[in-house]
Symmetry: C2
Subunit: 700 residues, 2 copies
């Protein structure tokens, strides 16, 4: 864990040593010095190179040990094999932070990997903040600091960007130049030997000059830490991220690129969502959203009002709106009256409000003023196409004027090229996001409303319920002792009892006489299930008989089950059968599972039993520990949820009962990281409650 | 139906009368004349205005009857109520084509609608090609014709654009200015009183100057005609369209905008697909694809090779690739050898080929040359980020040079802004699509490969099978006579027999004794189903008993069914029960339906029985008549298809049996438009074949 003091040395150093500075233009060691000077760095700057002399009028120090004062920060641009030596000397010189530009470490194979580990170790021992290696450098526009090998320097702004890909950084910087987009901080993480995405996220969360954080990630190193930090940051400011490697091909490319294994895609996607991070899937969306979040307030409801001078784009906006789950609310009666007065008779005064192709700026102004105070409007989108009558700059001015006194977010979409250009520039300069098409504008509003909902979600309830962790420990210890990976059913049942999972009353019996006696005690109807340490899935051997009503049926079932099992698995030792009280017969069947994700820890999943999950992939995921809200969300997130609510005239099932089970499993997963996998399948659930009729636990 | 001769008069007229020409700059009637002159129109030009005088040095004709020669084409920009009068005079003056710019017709209410009908009628009677009203006009760059009220004139090019929204036309023209994108034709359809989208599509299909057609549609007037024409056009050139109003909100906005009812979304989407039209969902994709289709050959396979100077964008491209169903194929051994020789040791020579951040143009050139002749590569994407070493213009030149001798499509993605600008401009000028992000580039390649597959689909097989249409007619006539909407089961069964649908042997019986006798004749096991003209859905009254094995079971079932039905529906007349042979018991259940779509005719759907269709919407649609290929596609298109193929260790079902039923239903729907709706539900299907165990037919 890096301290904040050191972060200050990295981002706003009083003095900088450039180790590997070069006199030759074109060399990275030259570019760094020239970028620092060009950006107007105010602190002390020490180029270091054994050749001595001068670089860009600065005297060159010939060795690290000759530095006149301990540098706050050092940038290293040396050949790979010299980096670790330089770091050692810098440590002696009492440096606080180091950024390593040099590449050729982990990403190139075993030798590089070991060198990188040594660097990381050194930094940790000497308490040096390490950025990189294989970093493009970093920028802090608010300190006139450009310590990168990029060619462009961004404008000052409120967006912080961090990226695991250096090349992407240079692309973004180049692109930002032409787009009037400003940045507060810019960090190229490189191989993340020292600073991880979680460290950087935390620092940017505390940075007063940053309003919005955007990031590009390929892998997450410590999922739990990332999640914990990110959760705190998203309370303070929006975080928008693109996670690369979300497909098999992408993951393969990631691992060949960074030398790190990509974690499970569902786990990382669950992590981002549970941390309140806005996940996007392409770069365009990343920057579209960054700008909108930086410049406009959040919509406080789902109602978007569209004002347009042409029907077609209005329809496209309406389509996008419904796809995004936003509403085109009908304006209030008062607004409608104002619009009727202000607009010509053929205008459409509902929503989209079509002020027709001959609209000049005054019509936009009157309409927007009415809509700005409309009680049913949470966000406004002003569309303009360059009709013959359109007054482009005056319309832009009208939008800017209305936005000044309006607490709702206002977005513009000016469609076209050269003619609308000046209007577009005015809007962007005034902080009004201006899109080229209606669809991305609507998607930005959708994301901002989702973030509003995230900030206003119910306060996470600490779930507190009785459990017997000691008993759980005993179960695990016992299994460990015998060396079993999968717990025997009776032990699994003990674990279930310890976590108060609703399980049917069960007896283990060894003869059919015992079975009949047990059934009598439990009360008919009962179920009979084969027990064998060699049979993981009873379904495979047809080892289950349900709904047995009489002693006769129990005896017949015993015979059937045991003969079938012996025929199918002559190698299996039959320990006997379980006799269980029957769960509800007309219930729905659902599954709750968890597995341990290598990056993010226990990943809980929920689905129905059957093809919706197996074939259509209708499964919802969350990382443990779950909040009550998480448990409620996960149940409602599957597309098949209407079936649980009773979509087809059936009775709804008890969602609370499922949520209880999810929370218990979350607790179990958190208490026992040694449980590698757990599956409750099936859980029978009806209006009254739920019953876990089978469960499997595997320990690692 | 408009003749091609008239189309020539509209698109390439020898003489033009501008009716409502005006001397005042800013008036539409002035803008039209000035646009015609500015674009360099070579034919005779007659401004018409009762005030006489001169407009832009042209003598003004004061009345239509005074025109010196019959004009090939006339453009009308008069107040609404004068339009029809002018059209009548123009008809007398023997005009061939008219474009009406004036708005305020159908879209404004009843009066306007009637005026528009009168115009359409006049045009039809006088054989005048009518574009509009409410049109922005039209452009033919290859005749120097700009007969629009738009402010910009596009460059010459190979893309034809037609649009139902005029405002969108002006936005596009303005945008195209800055994007170096050229057009061949540009048509604003307006209210489509005369020329419809189908007419225009056909004409553009025959236009030698057009390589790609793109269109924006809100409604389709004659679905069948559109489908027929579009099918022919897509054989000749790609057609890319955006259909607005694809959501409820969008459809509402459409109808308030155009005054036309939007047809069913699934039907229009099926129509576009069956016609081979590429449907896109936002404007950005429309133009991205237009440019790529216009400039590059189609990929002849799904294998994309990505060449990049940075890992991150390579991963994003790989993700996009898998999402798009394309493959990142491993290059051939020979290519790998060339790459090993040409690239530094840390380069990734598989795919994405990462030539690393210090790559200069020569490394791009060597890699692209190797990949251009690689036997496993069908398309190439060259990614560049502006690293410190990047040679942007030289790299653009390398791509251009390789593309010149390469028969495979080549796409570029230069990420950034100012620095990459010159490279981007070079590529675009050389006809190489250059994207700002990897994702849209991959989506363009996906669409082009899909079009390649469309062109190379198996030749549509004319399906020929025995049917007894006469018998079908009798059934319909009988139902009509009695005034029934829903056919009685026995008649529906007759219809099914006429179309050789596989139905179980069935007897209608009126007593339980008869039922037992029928069961004996048919052979056990049997099913028993209630029959009542008042009960549409037997499931509602539990009026079905299956798998009856003995006379006793039949009698019991008879009692059960009839009592239950009488209790639940005391108003219903019970005509008796059906006794049926049982279909396969362990079969899958599927549904085939059709309904008559008001715009596109019979729309056939296919799904499984159960929640996958009802709750998750997993239903596939096609318009009748189906080809054999359509029938095969529709079965495979549902996401649940793996269940039919036997995903979970079950036996696969007979797909051919389902396809036969689909084709029979397609024939029935085509033969009898008076059948409003038909539903075969459920159809039992197993490995051997299928059986339709219940069906309902409703006539209009």
């Amino acid at each position: 864990m890096q301290s904040n003091t050191n972060f200050h040395s990295l981002l706003c150093p009083d003095s900088i040593a450039v180790v590997g500075a070069s006199r030759k233009p074109g060399k990275l060691g030259h570019l760094i010095v020239s970028n620092l000077i060009r950006a107007g760095y105010k602190g002390k700057l020490f180029p270091v190179n054994p050749a001595g002399g001068e670089i860009l009028d600065l005297p060159v120090i010939s060795a690290i040990k000759d530095l006149p004062t301990p540098p706050d920060m050092a940038i290293i641009a040396l050949p790979r094999d010299k980096v670790i030596g330089a770091m050692k000397e810098l440590a002696k010189a009492d440096v606080s932070a180091i950024c390593v530009i040099t590449a050729g470490f982990r990403e190139t194979g075993r030798d590089g990997f070991e060198l990188e580990m040594a660097m990381a170790d050194l930094a940790r021992r000497k308490n040096i903040t390490l950025l990189g290696p294989n970093s493009l450098g970093l920028i802090n526009t608010h300190c006139n600091l450009n310590a990168t090998i990029a060619q462009s320097i961004p404008q000052k702004g409120a967006i912080a960007f961090f990226s695991q890909s250096g090349a992407l950084c240079s692309a973004i910087l180049d692109w930002a130049d032409g787009e009037h987009i400003g940045f507060s901080k810019f960090l190229s993480l490189g191989n993340k030997a020292g600073l991880s995405e979680a460290d950087v996220l935390e620092a940017l969360g505390d940075d007063p000059e940053t309003k919005v954080i955007i990031g590009y990630l390929e892998s997450v190193d410590d999922g739990e830490k990332f999640l914990r930090k990110a959760r705190m940051v998203t309370e303070k400011k929006p975080v928008i991220m693109i996670k690369a490697g979300t497909t098999q091909s992408g993951a393969r490319a990631t691992s060949s690129h960074t030398g790190s294994m990509a974690g499970s895609v569902v786990a990382s996607s669950a992590a981002l969502r549970q941390a309140g991070i806005i996940q996007v899937h392409d770069l365009e969306a990343l920057f579209d959203l960054a700008r909108s979040f930086a410049e406009q307030p959040l919509p406080q409801g789902p109602n978007l009002t569209v004002v347009t001078n042409s029907g077609g784009p209005g329809i496209l906006a309406a389509d996008a709106c419904e796809d995004a789950g936003l509403h085109l609310a009908r304006p209030s009666q008062k607004t409608l009256e104002k619009l009727t007065e202000a607009l010509p008779p053929f205008a459409a005064i509902y929503n989209p409000i079509d002020i027709i192709g001959d609209a000049k700026a005054d019509r936009y102004r009157a309409t927007l003023e009415a809509v700005a105070v409309d009680e049913f409007t949470n966000a406004i989108l002003a569309l303009l196409t360059p009709t013959a009558s359109a007054e482009i700059e005056a319309t832009a001015q009208a939008i800017i004027d209305v936005a000044e006194h309006c607490e709702k977010p206002i977005f513009a979409c000016f469609m076209g090229g050269e003619r609308i250009g000046p209007g577009r520039d005015m809007l962007i300069a005034a902080g009004i996001p201006c899109y080229a098409y209606p669809e991305p504008a609507v998607r930005a509003i959708e994301a901002m409303y989702a973030h509003y909902q995230w900030l206003n979600r119910p306060y996470p309830v600490e779930v507190c319920f009785r459990r017997d962790k000691g008993k759980g420990k005993q179960v695990i210890r016992k299994a460990r002792k015998v060396g079993l990976k999968e717990l025997p059913f009776s032990d699994a049942m003990d674990m279930a009892l310890a976590y108060e999972l609703p399980i049917p009353e069960t007896r283990l019996v060894r003869t059919s006489d015992q079975a009949v006696r047990a059934a009598k005690k439990l009360g008919y109807p009962v179920a009979l299930k084969i027990v064998s340490p060699h049979i993981a899935n009873r379904g495979d051997v047809d080892g289950i008989a349900l709904d047995l009503h009489t002693p006769r049926e129990v005896r017949d079932a015993w015979l059937d089950i045991t003969t079938r099992t012996q025929r199918k698995r002559p190698d299996a030792y039959l320990a006997g059968c379980l006799v269980q009280t029957m769960g509800p017969i007309k219930a729905r069947e659902v599954i709750v599972r968890f597995t341990q994700d290598p990056q993010f820890g226990p990943l809980i999943s929920f689905s129905l039993v059957g093809p919706s999950a197996e074939v259509l992939g209708d499964i919802a995921y969350r990382l443990a520990p779950l909040t009550l809200q998480d448990a409620q969300d996960i149940v409602r997130e599957i597309k098949s949820f209407p079936l649980l609510r009773g979509a087809r005239g059936e009775d709804p099932v008890s969602l609370a009962a499922i949520e209880d089970i999810l929370l218990s499993m979350s607790q179990m997963a958190t208490d026992f990281p040694e449980i590698q996998e757990a599956e409750l399948n099936p859980i029978l659930v009806d209006t009254e409650g739920a019953m876990v009729t089978d469960l499997r636990l595997t320990i690692g």
